[in-house]
Symmetry: C2
Subunit: 486 residues, 2 copies
C-alpha cells in the first residue's frame, strides 16, 4: 500500500496516463481567450494525440467537436484535465470512474486553500477519487508537462524544450519563473509538475517517480512544506546517489513561514532540522531560483570536482582579485600552483605574470588569438593541486562583438568561429577526461557571447560570486557521494 | 597645493582637456587590427573633434595623415593619448611639454605593475610629467570616456550611452564588465575612468572631480586600495549628501588581498576599518558587479524609502513566500497592513485573499487586465505602515509574450500596449509623489518583458533576493542622509 492513501500501489498505470496519455479530455474547454480552458486547449493541441473538449454550452472548441459530458466521448480516455469550478469537480470525477479514467489533473482552484468550505470540497473530491481509483495532480495546480511524450497542461508557460532536468514546484508561479529562467539558460526539462494542494499525489510521490524516470538526470524543486518528511528524506538518500536533487526550501524565516502556511497550509518546520536532514540526504539546498538554475547548468555540462581547490585564470588582475574573494567567502581554497604548472606558464606567459593563483593573463593584451588562454587553461587543469577552474577570459566571442569591436568582416568571422567551436569542444572533452569542471565567468557582459557559450554547453555565469557558490555546491555534493557511494 | 603632487591645483584646465578636448593626438596610432593603436583610433574618430595620429612608420591611419612626432602637428593639441611602449613614454611627455599639452592618457603598460624596472620607468615618467605640468590618467589604463563631450579612449568597450552614472575603476577589465552590464540594464554613463596605476591622478582626484561634475548624479567605483584613504573619506562624506557613491571594495579576504597587491600594488587594508569608514561616510558598499548595477538602477529611477517596512504584492503565494524570506534575511520588516488598507483590498480582491502582508493576488487568475494589480498596488503605497513595495505581478507584458501566450493579434497588442505604458507612467509618478520606491521582481522570466520595463525606467530584478538587497542599501543610505543632512 502507498503510504498516503488506500490505492493499490501495484497499479501504476496512472503514471503513464498522467505523463504520456494517448487521449486527453479537457473538461471546461473554452473559446474565451484568457481563460484556463482556452489556453490549455492550445497547449494540448500542440501535440499529436487525441484531444476531446468537454463543454455543454458550445459545439466546438478550436475546431474540435465539443462533448456535453465526459461520458459522451466515443473513445477511451487516458487523462482528464479539469478546469471547471470547484463545486463541480467531484461530479466530473464520478464520470471519470464511469469512463474508466484513472488519472486527472485538477487545475480548478477554490479548495483547501480558500478556507473551511474549500477544505470540505477537497475532502469530498479526494474521497470520490479514491472510491473510483483515480489519482490526481492538484487541485489548484498550474499544470504539468512531459517533453518526452509532448504533453502539457501548462496554460501560462511557453513551450518547454526537452532535456534531463525535472522540476516539481509547490507554487505554480514560482515554478514557472524557475522553468523560464532555465529555458533562457538553455536548460531542457524532462518533466515539470506544479503539485498544487497535493490533495492526492504528494511531493514525495513525484519524487519517487522521477527517481526511476529514465528521462530525468537531475531533479529540481521548490518546497514550502513536506507532508511526508520521513519518506522524502528516505527517497532523497536513495536518489541522490544517482541523480542530484536541488531544492529551494522556503519559509525559513518568521514571516515567510507564516506566509507559507497561508499559501499552501504547509508547515515549514525548523530551519536547523531541515538543513541537517538535507545534508544527510545529499540534497543540494539553494537560496533562490538563480542559484538553482546555476547549479543545474553546471551539473548538466561539467564533471564534479574531486575537492575544493580552485584555480583561477583571468584576463585582468581585478577580475582575479574579485573571483578570489568570492571563492574564499564560499569556503573554497585558492590552490597554490604546482611547480610544474609555474614552469609551464613561464613558457606561455610573459615574465611578469604573477607566478601565483589567481593567474592573471597580464600582458597578453586584448586579443582574439586565444591560444595563450587555452594553453594556460590546460596547464591549470593538469595541475594536481587544482580540482576545478574558474575561467574569466574570452574562450569564445560572439559574432557581433567580433564585428563591432574587432572590425572583422564576414569571412574572418567564419574562420574565427570555426576555430573557437573546436576549442570549446576540446574544453568540454578535457574537463570530462580529467574530472575537473571549468566554469566560465563572463569577462565581458555581452549577452550574445554568453548565449553562444550556453549553446555550446559551456556553463557561464554573470559574476564570480555565482560561480563560486556553484563550485561550493558541487564540492559538497561530491564529498557526500564519496562518503556514501559504495 | 594638491595633496599628491606639486602641481598648482588652481590650474584645472587639464580636467577640461582630459574630458572635453577639442583636439586629440594618438601617439602610437596603428593600422594593425587588434592593436590598441588601431582600436583607439576607431573610438576617437567616432566623435567630431580634430584627431591626429602619430606614427613615424606610416603615412596615414584610417584616412588621417600620420605625423612622425607630436611636435610636427600643425595645430594645438588638448589631449595626448599614448600607446607606445613604456620605455618611450617619457620622451613623448617631453614633446607634450614642448607642444603645451597638459593632459595625457597613458594606455601603455609595462610600468610599476611589472616589477623593479617598471617602477623606475614609472617614477621617471611622473618626474617628466610634473616638470612639464602634465596630468596623467594611467599608466596601464584601459582608457576613459565622457559621453557629454563624446570622447572615448576605451579600445575594447562598446559605445557607452549617456546618463548620470559615473564609474571609476581600479581594474579596466572589471570596469568594462560593470559598464557593459549596466548598459544591458539601460543605465547610461556620464564618465568612465579606468584609473590604471594611478601614478599621477589618484582615485581621490577623480572622486573630487565627479563630486562637482554636473553631468554626474551617481558615482560608482571598483576599488582595490586607496592611496589617500583619509582624503577619500573626507570627500565621500561631502559628496554622499548630494550624490550616492556605490563601491565594490575588493581584497577583503586573505588570498584576494595578496592578489590585489600583486595586481596594482594596492594595500587592501582591514575589512572592519573599511566597513566602518564607508558607513560613516554614507558610502554604499556592495558585494559585486550585479549588486552595484542593481543599486544604481533603483537610485536612478525611484525615490529613497523613508524606512525599512516593506509591502509585498505577488501574483501567487509562492512568490510572496520567497520574497518575504529574502526581505527578512536582509533585515527588512514585513509591515503589518493598516486596517484601512485591508478594507481597500477587501473591496478589490476576492474574499479569500490572505488579509496580510505579503499580499497574494490569489484568485485573480492569469489575466492581462492588470487593473486589480494596480489598485492593490496603490492601496499598498498609500499604507502609512509601508515604506517601499516589492511587486511581483505583471504590470507590463512584452509584446511577443502577448502574442504567443495570450494569442493577441497586432491590433489588440497595440491597444493593450498603450494602456500599459500609461499605467507605468502613473506608477513612476505615484512613487515619486509619495516617496515610496516600487521595485519590480519579474514574475515571469521573459527577457522581452524585463527589457520593456527597463526602457520604461521601472527597476526590475530577476530575483527577490536581489531586490531585497537593494532595498536594504536604499534604506541604510536614507537613514544616513536623515542623520547627516542639515
Amino acid at each position: 500500500l502507498n503510504s498516503n492513501n488506500g490505492i493499490n500501489s501495484s497499479d501504476n498505470s496512472f503514471w503513464q496516463n498522467l505523463f504520456a496519455p494517448n487521449s486527453v479530455a479537457l473538461i471546461g474547454a473554452s473559446n474565451t481567450p484568457g481563460t484556463w480552458g482556452f489556453n490549455i486547449m492550445w497547449r494540448l493541441l500542440a501535440s499529436e494525440r487525441r484531444i476531446y473538449p468537454v463543454n455543454p454550452n458550445v459545439s466546438e472548441v478550436r475546431g474540435k467537436p465539443a462533448y456535453r459530458r465526459l461520458t459522451d466521448i466515443p473513445d477511451s480516455i487516458d487523462l482528464a484535465v479539469i478546469v471547471v469550478r470547484a463545486s463541480l469537480v467531484s461530479a466530473v470525477l464520478q464520470e471519470c470512474t464511469q469512463k474508466g479514467v484513472n488519472a486527472a489533473v485538477v487545475i480548478s482552484s477554490g479548495f483547501s486553500e480558500t478556507g473551511e468550505d474549500g477544505i470540505k470540497l477537497e475532502a469530498e473530491m479526494v474521497e470520490t477519487a479514491r472510491r473510483g481509483g483515480i489519482r490526481i495532480i492538484g487541485p489548484n495546480t498550474m499544470g504539468h508537462a512531459d517533453t518526452s511524450s509532448n504533453v502539457s497542461t501548462l496554460a501560462w508557460t511557453k513551450e518547454i524544450p526537452p532535456g534531463p532536468v525535472a522540476l516539481i514546484a509547490q507554487s505554480g508561479n514560482l515554478g514557472n519563473r524557475i522553468a523560464l529562467q532555465g529555458i533562457n539558460l538553455g536548460i531542457g526539462f524532462s518533466k515539470f509538475v506544479c503539485s498544487g494542494n497535493e490533495a492526492d499525489l504528494h511531493f514525495e510521490d513525484y519524487l519517487e517517480y522521477l527517481g526511476r524516470d529514465e528521462d530525468t538526470r537531475i531533479i529540481t524543486a521548490y518546497i514550502e512544506g513536506l507532508r511526508e518528511g520521513r519518506r522524502f528524506f528516505k527517497l532523497a538518500r536513495e536518489i541522490t546517489i544517482d541523480k542530484p536533487i536541488i531544492v529551494i526550501k522556503a519559509g525559513g524565516t518568521k514571516e515567510s513561514s507564516r506566509a507559507a502556511r497561508s499559501h499552501t497550509g504547509a508547515l515549514s518546520g525548523s530551519e536547523a532540522v531541515y538543513n541537517a536532514a538535507f545534508r544527510q540526504a545529499g540534497v543540494i539546498r539553494v537560496g533562490g531560483d538563480d542559484e538553482l538554475n546555476d547549479v543545474a547548468l553546471a551539473l548538466l555540462h561539467q564533471p564534479l570536482p574531486r575537492g575544493n581547490r580552485i584555480g583561477i585564470l583571468a584576463i585582468g588582475g581585478g577580475l582575479g582579485v574579485v573571483a578570489t574573494e568570492a571563492c574564499e567567502r564560499e569556503g573554497l581554497v585558492i590552490a597554490p600552483l604546482a611547480s610544474v604548472t609555474i614552469e609551464k606558464l613561464n613558457a606561455i606567459l610573459p615574465p611578469r605574470w604573477p607566478h601565483a593563483n589567481p593567474v592573471d593573463l597580464v600582458g597578453i593584451g586584448p586579443t582574439v588569438d586565444n591560444s595563450i588562454i587555452l594553453s594556460s587553461l590546460w596547464a591549470l587543469m593538469e595541475d594536481e593541486n587544482i580540482d576545478a577552474v574558474l575561467l574569466q577570459a574570452p574562450v569564445a566571442i560572439g559574432t557581433s562583438f567580433l564585428s563591432t569591436t574587432f572590425h572583422f568582416n564576414a569571412e574572418e568571422i567564419k574562420v574565427f568561429d570555426d576555430g573557437q567551436k573546436q576549442n570549446l569542444d576540446m574544453l568540454r572533452k578535457r574537463a570530462a577526461e580529467c574530472g575537473k569542471p571549468v566554469l566560465v565567468v563572463t569577462p565581458v557582459n555581452d549577452p550574445e557571447t554568453n548565449d553562444y557559450l550556453l549553446r555550446e554547453r559551456i556553463p557561464v555565469f554573470t559574476s564570480p560570486h555565482r560561480a563560486a557558490r556553484v563550485l561550493r555546491h558541487l564540492t559538497e555534493y561530491r564529498g557526500y557521494l564519496d562518503a556514501n557511494q559504495s
